[in-house]
Symmetry: C2
């Protein structure tokens, strides 16, 4: 994969993983966070850039710290950038 | 200050500091990033939540890694949260 990892991709991935680790359904998280199911799905798939308030609401619904979300997202983007610098693996 | 530090506040602060450290004017950064001067000003003041693409463009204009931006923003929010837990200082 040579595509850049956008901030919203990394944020969406992490929010989805946190939700799955918490054994919560999208419906439960959407309801607690006060967003529609469709919008949460778009956030998790990195289709929508949520506002700071929405990220905060989803994080609270997951009992996940938004500071941890940012640090983790930054580290994933950094790892992804590094992986793009690696020589192509020979099969 | 007891107000929460939102993601866009932290992101705006850091982008502004990076621009000032680079001795670049808002006009120069706005032009290179392809955003209006007014919009860049709103981003720096934490008024607007920029999209992932706009954050990427502003970071590139500043030669600043967006992964570093996220990690730094997360750490600032964490520090701010910790500061809110400190007992009020007596004067």
């Amino acid at each position: 994969m040579s595509k850049n990892l956008l901030i919203r991709d990394a944020v969406g991935q992490i929010l989805k993983e946190q939700r799955e680790q918490s054994k919560l359904s999208m419906r439960e998280v959407a309801q607690t966070a006060g967003v529609s199911l469709g919008y949460l799905s778009e956030i998790e798939r990195g289709i929508k850039d949520p506002s700071s308030e929405i990220i905060g609401s989803v994080c609270r619904a997951l009992l996940f710290d938004s500071a941890d979300l940012l640090v983790e997202a930054g580290m994933r983007i950094r790892e992804h950038e590094l992986s793009l610098l690696q020589p192509t693996r020979r099969s």
